[in-house]
Symmetry: C2
DNA sequence: ATTAATTTTCTCGACAGTCGAAAAAATGTT
DNA sequence: AACATTTTTTCGACTGTCGAGAAAATTAAT
């Protein structure tokens, strides 16, 4: 049902406008806010004083003295108004970061994961301890952490922070809310990592979204497994994203066994373990290895570049699965630029031809132009950054609803 | 960029709320409006009197005299406030309908298309004449038609009403705006027909959208060609839809030649002509026929039901292409119920097994439950209805912006 | 040092919109 | 004809935005 509009939501929306301007522009003066939001100076005044009273905004009186006239006072977020913990889980390590409400990184440490860690109990117990450590060594109260946002590979439930399927733990599920509720009252979020890589790339390269009419960009993450995120710029300028389990989209019903139990998933052919399987002519029905060192793929890539037919074929087959899969994606969601990230970008030269052929084999691509393909090597930072931005704008949305609420008082 | 909120948009939004309540509930009294929109009685009063003054609403003083107390007066749309022309193009005929602002069908006629009509000039010239006829025989001025909304199979440009590719005219494009602008000043819309079938089904069976968390439903249209529409219920309750060229999604790179020029599209295997080709073992590289009478498929369906292996195989192969294609769709967009329409529903028994197998072979479907599959035989009316509803709610949106505009005065 | 100029920010009254409550309207019942 | 009942309109209070002018804080000129 559509919502009725009241003067109350009116104010909420304009408060949100101010906060989002502050996010995008950093430290901003009264007049700049007024120009950017196209709100009148008077309205900006009432809203900023209100937010200041609530402890969300700070004003910097410091005058850089540029020209004459009354110097501008700049507003910025009150950094201590809220903190978020960002946890990035990869197959090699778990990274813990603490970020304040202004978006500055306050603390970070990483914990290596044991090579063959498959026991979810010890894993989750350690994660819990590490989060407590993050809070304690920064001398925070647990209540000051308003959000714990975790990224991982695998399939994530919608609605609650539960890991449904992951490459390492497979079908053993894990509810992070149940895990962390006892130690802190924060909101717990769990998201597929490639979704935030996509979000981050879309925000940084917003101009690329204009390449086609649908204002979308796809981000493909190539490594041991295959991830995909789609970011869309909506009519109001907000960028939203989602991450379908592209790696487990059926490529060939007669293909090899995938870690998910099905046959012929894209990942079973184009994931690192799939490429190795083809290269070494391992039987299609062998259950694939859980973890393969990057070194091994690098070795066979060298062989392929030196003209070894079988390994060349393995990469070509992987590229074909990826290319045709992307082609199917573009058929369903319309043509859009493609960003590629993950360790697999190192081997793109071996897959390029078959990937591009697959993309090309799409009705709208044949009619229009080839989508732009770009590369992004800093996958970890992209994921962290996307996650952080998403958390902060979530906090902003909560704040604008909590008008006159006493919840935001940690100065 | 996010928009600032002003008291003006506030009023607009509530005007829109009133109009949409009127659309959904039909003829409605003041108090019912107030309850449904949760606006105060006072606000409803000011908005309705405003809309009445603008000639958009009428009030029926007629009292059905139920119980005592002051009788309710009912509001309804002023039917003569606007008219829309709805054109539905199929391979056999073109259907013209005239609908007033209240949504009642005022006139309708159909024109059969010559069996092998491939000349786009004569086709479009006839269409132009037929629209003029629709206006004249209802004694309307061309300006009273505010929208001409056309549906067709094939690929439609986004942004302007141009047909890019169609089964009959293939790559010969046709810009309906250029065609119709000389004879009337209306807004011209062109949409893929299955998109509106999807929209219509989603609106009628809104409860089915709840089957999975993503509030989506897919509609598959089976006939000579293969169409697909996806309808999504957004957070505000509005249902939006789109229609990707699913029929031309790659199924098998080594498959038969499709009408679009590629090899192995779903349609080239599961469209009527694809099924016939497999059944009669026609060479994969033969350019397929443009049109096949329904009778021919019915004949081979009888053969298949009597146990003829080759024709059974043809339908099974078609089902496999559809099922795996749908499985890929569900992988990318999440699990959702599936509605099937078009003449091909008559042969669903011959494809059911392989279709369901394909859908089943999807990570999230295996983890959750099988999506519900439903059948809808009245495809033509679904398309018409979806188109009409979409036009009317578009008109409503225009009206709420044109506050105090003199544009809506045809009483 | 004082005054003028300039730029930014704040304040005040006007206007638009929604809401709750009370008044008015229209009918049925006694 | 007076009263009861239900619906609709009207009125005053409240919240929000806006434009214009006042106030503030600085530099430049006298």
């Amino acid at each position: 049902m559509l919502m009725k509009a009241s003067t109350e939501n009116l104010r909420k929306q304009n408060r949100g406008l101010i906060l989002s301007a502050l996010r995008r522009l950093g430290s901003v003066s009264h007049t700049e806010l007024s120009q950017w939001t196209s709100l009148s100076s008077a309205t900006v005044s009432t809203i900023t004083t209100e937010l200041e009273k609530e402890g969300i905004l700070l004003r910097d009186e410091q005058t850089p003295s540029s020209g004459r006239g009354r110097p501008r006072v700049k507003f910025r977020q009150n950094p201590n108004c809220a903190f978020i913990a960002i946890v990035r889980i990869t197959s090699e390590l778990v990274q813990y970061s603490l970020v304040d409400y202004a978006g500055t990184l306050k603390d970070r440490f990483e914990e290596k994961r044991p090579p063959a860690e498959t026991d979810i109990e010890t894993f989750s117990a350690r994660l819990k301890l590490d989060i407590e450590r993050l809070i304690q060594r920064n001398e925070l109260q647990p209540e000051q952490i308003l959000t714990v946002s975790i990224t991982t590979k695998g399939l994530v439930a919608s609605g609650k922070p539960e890991l449904l399927w992951s490459p390492v733990f497979e079908d053993t599920t894990l509810d992070f809310e149940d895990l962390l509720k006892p130690i802190l009252p924060a909101q717990i979020r769990l998201t597929n990592d490639t979704q935030f890589a996509a979000q981050s790339i879309a925000e940084k390269h917003a101009e690329k979204l204009g390449g086609f009419s649908n204002r979308k960009i796809a981000t493909l993450s190539l490594s041991h497994s295959i991830g995909l995120g789609i970011a869309t710029e909506e009519a109001n300028g907000k960028i939203t994203s989602f991450a379908p389990p592209f790696g487990h989209m059926m490529h060939d019903p007669n293909g090899p066994l995938c870690r998910c139990g099905a046959h012929g998933c894209i990942e079973s052919i184009a994931g690192f373990y799939g490429i190795l399987r083809t290269a070494f002519e391992v039987d299609d029905n062998v259950v694939p290895a859980k973890f393969i060192p990057l070194k091994e793929i690098e070795n066979i890539a060298v062989r392929a570049r030196n003209g070894d037919h079988r390994t060349e074929y393995a990469f070509r087959l992987a590229g074909e699965a990826l290319g045709i899969g992307l082609g199917r994606l573009l058929t369903l969601l319309g043509p859009m630029p493609i960003a590629i990230t993950g360790h697999g970008t190192l081997f793109y030269d071996l897959m390029q031809k078959s990937i591009l052929e697959g993309i090309q084999n799409t009705l709208q691509v044949r009619r229009n132009k080839m989508p732009e393909v770009s590369f992004h090597t800093d996958e970890g930072e992209l994921i962290f950054n996307g996650n952080m931005q998403s958390c902060l704008s979530d906090l902003d949305s909560n704040i604008i609803s909590e008008q006159n609420g006493t919840k935001w008082k940690f100065n």
